[in-house]
Amino acid sequence: MSRVIDLTGLSAIYATRLLAEVGHDVIRVEPRSGDAIRRMGPYLGEKQDLEHGAFHQFLNAGKRSLTLDTSSPSGRRILDDLLQTADVVVANSPMPFDEAAITAANPRLVVTSVVDDSDPDICAYARSGLLSLTGHPDERPTLMGGRVYYAATGAFIGVATAAALLVAQQTGMGQTARVSVAECLQALFEQAMVTYASTGKSTERRGYRGAISAVSGAFPCADGYWMVSLSSSADNWHRFMDWMQDPVLAAEPELADEAERNAKRDYILDRIATWAGKHKKDELVAESQARHIPSAPVTTPLDLARDPQLIDRGFLQKVDHPEFGETLFPVGAIASLRGGKVAMAPSLGQHTIEILEELGYGPSDRRALLESGVV
């Protein structure tokens, strides 16, 4: 188990969440007033305070919280002391500490330095090209929901950090891992890059229809939407035709070819939509899965709150929440691999005293720090 000092913002905090999922001791250093992540809605329950934000509750789960005024000299000294005991620190560049001095004193420290110009997020998203891929044709482009792009950038940052940590374990030497958030965002459209580089065409937003292969879309059905996504193979098309039994499409055998399907995409998709409108979502999904045709219901996160698959695999784990009672908590994809549990997110400064004790601050020192507002 390594000790991770978490000074991240929203673009990197998913990285330290991943590190907490594998059991590292992740210490989140926060200002006494609480940070921006604690102020992000939606909130759990009625109270819109620093303890009830959903982002805080999920992303800080399994971490400890230390409140510290890093602008004061004694606050910075505590941070320095903490960094002497640490294996990893993740923060936005420039580092909020003297990197050269710290790494000279603690040469095994991995410093993950995040180059982040992604605030405000809507501007970074537009600049990256991703906005041009998100939304419906000719309609207003839109941000992806749930700030999910920051989980993606955080996952890259987690990978870079984990690689440096592996090296540190082998060599006893830390180093700096540098990650550019802007480059992470760009890297998330690499197929569109390939298409542009090899054909000169810009991939555009395609809404809920035909996103990657020709026959792929979220079609309205009798009670909502269902998603079906045929691969480019002829085999998939034949299996789908066996099921749909559309005499008009069946009369065009050349549609077994993906290029032909692409050429007639809207025409095909209109016919599928009309057919699907007569059936219920669960029936359509069950039947297509039985026929090995990739499909899924279009869900909201609420539909997944008691999802049997997520419960069976231990991704959703029963916890007795002090405020909300027995509830199912998402431990995360990495924690669930290990059958692990994840502790609830800490309240603001919950572990401040405990961590100061570990650093060797005695009772009188701690009292002085508390009284002066440093911690």
Binding site: Q57, S132, L166, E190, M193, Y196, T300, T327, L337
Partner: protein, 414 residues
């Protein structure tokens, strides 16, 4: 837009993080190959197991008769499988499976993203291989994982965009399901797998034991929406669909400009920026309304404000809107199309240019991270099908020329 590569000091010429790590790669299409490409970037020796009887179809989905480059490997195959070795093995033949077991016994990592049960039927499951190699890290990346009621479901990126709730948190209230035209969930799955592998390698150094990582791409994607799932579970309602709006900055949105399908985003985070916006628009009378003087009022009357802003933006090009807003201190950015991003080296720094074949420049995805001491593998191209079959069988498991000839004669190395 800072390129990490440009920051790399000349000293980053040390060993790669995964030097000496052997990866036997059975994965195909994108999520798995994206993961193993990252392992290759980090210095692992990645051996892609292919067969001329069952090709990885990556890139075949976008045929283009005018394409002038390499024809044996489509561009997206090259992009996803660069820097890997290629071995051909016909796994339907028993001797090929025996060879594979021997390769597995000296590999550090196996990655596969077949449907649940496929590797088991080949006798190449974790439980088959672990006795031969207790240090093996075996990574499966099926859509829903190898256990649970949906273990046999087939899945693709779009299905995961649908089933994880992503399409119903993206877009505004009342919009139909809204997706991103990117294989988003493959990248998300690949990133989680890579993280899991790096962590397992670290743990193995302490315990000497490998790991069986049954990663579900579904769960990786649901994790990225963890806050939304948690809020829904506690509150019993689906999360609000905010579209381009924010809960604490207003106005914020994406506004239509004069050009065809041209747009510009802006956000107003405080009253100063609001005054900047009003000035940039030429101080129109509607904007002096008392109701808009603070963020609470602007959030409440967002629709009305949006309509007025768009009446202004739709008269101007998005470059003009962006320029005027920035000059007034308002964060703004015109929507860049893929072409715009790719044609500007500053906004496409992660995409490198190599020649493949010689004389034919192509763009390849590089790494958005680097290290001060450890090196990354320089960005290269994709191996010809089966190029490394004999050499790997010699180097990894010491097959003799006679043994190789015999396998060739049996037709299993194809």
């Amino acid at each position: 837009m800072t390129s990490v590569a440009s920051q790399a000091p000349a000293t980053a010429t040390g060993r790669t993080p995964l030097e000496g790590i052997r990866v036997l790669d059975f994965s195909h299409i994108l999520a798995g190959p994206f993961c193993t490409r990252m392992l290759a970037d980090l210095g692992a020796e990645v051996l892609k197991v292919e067969s001329s009887t069952r090709m990885d179809r990556t890139g075949v989905t976008r045929p283009d008769p005018n394409f002038k480059g390499r024809v044996d490997r489509p561009p997206s195959f090259v992009n996803t499988n660069r820097n890997k070795k290629s071995i051909t093995l016909n796994l339907k033949a028993e001797p090929a499976r025996e060879v594979t077991k021997r390769l597995a016994s000296v590999a550090d990592v196996i990655v596969e993203n077949f449907s649940a049960g496929v590797m088991g039927r080949l006798g190449l499951d974790y439980k088959d291989l672990e006795p031969l190699n207790p240090g093996l890290i075996y990574v499966s990346m099926a859509g829903y994982g190898h256990t649970g009621p949906r273990r046999d479901w087939t899945s693709m990126n779009m299905n995961l965009q649908a089933y994880t709730g992503l399409m119903m948190v993206t877009g505004a209230e009342g919009d139909p399901p809204t997706c991103i035209s990117s294989s988003w969930n493959d990248y998300i799955g690949g990133l989680h797998a890579t993280f899991g592998i790096l962590n397992a390698l670290t743990e193995r150094r302490v315990t000497g034991k490998g790991a069986n990582l049954d990663l579900a791409q579904f769960e990786a994607s649901v994790s990225t929406l963890g806050p939304m799932l948690l809020a829904s579970a506690i509150n019993g309602v689906p999360p609000a669909r905010l579209g381009n709006r924010s809960t604490d900055s207003a106005p914020q949105g994406c506004y239509r400009c004069a050009g065809k399908d041209d747009w510009c985003v802006l956000t107003v985070r405080n009253d100063d920026e609001w005054r900047g916006l009003v000035a940039a628009m030429g101080n129109p009378s509607w904007a002096s309304d008392e109701r808009f003087s603070d963020v609470t009022g602007r959030l409440r009357h967002h629709d009305e404000i949006d309509k007025n802003i768009e009446a202004w933006t739709s008269q101007l090009s998005n470059v003009e809107v962006e320029g005027r807003l920035r000059k007034a201190g308002v964060p703004a950015e015109r929507m860049r199309r893929i072409k715009d991003v790719m044609d500007d080296p500053a906004t496409s720094s992660v995409y490198k240019t190599i020649e493949d074949p010689p004389g034919h420049p192509i763009r390849i995805t590089g790494s958005p991270f680097d290290f001060s001491s450890s090196a990354l593998t320089p960005v290269g191209t994709a191996a010809v099908l089966g190029a490394d079959t004999h050499s790997t069988l010699r180097e990894w498991i010491g097959l003799s020329e006679d043994e190789l000839r015999s396998l060739d004669e049996q037709g299993v190395l194809v």
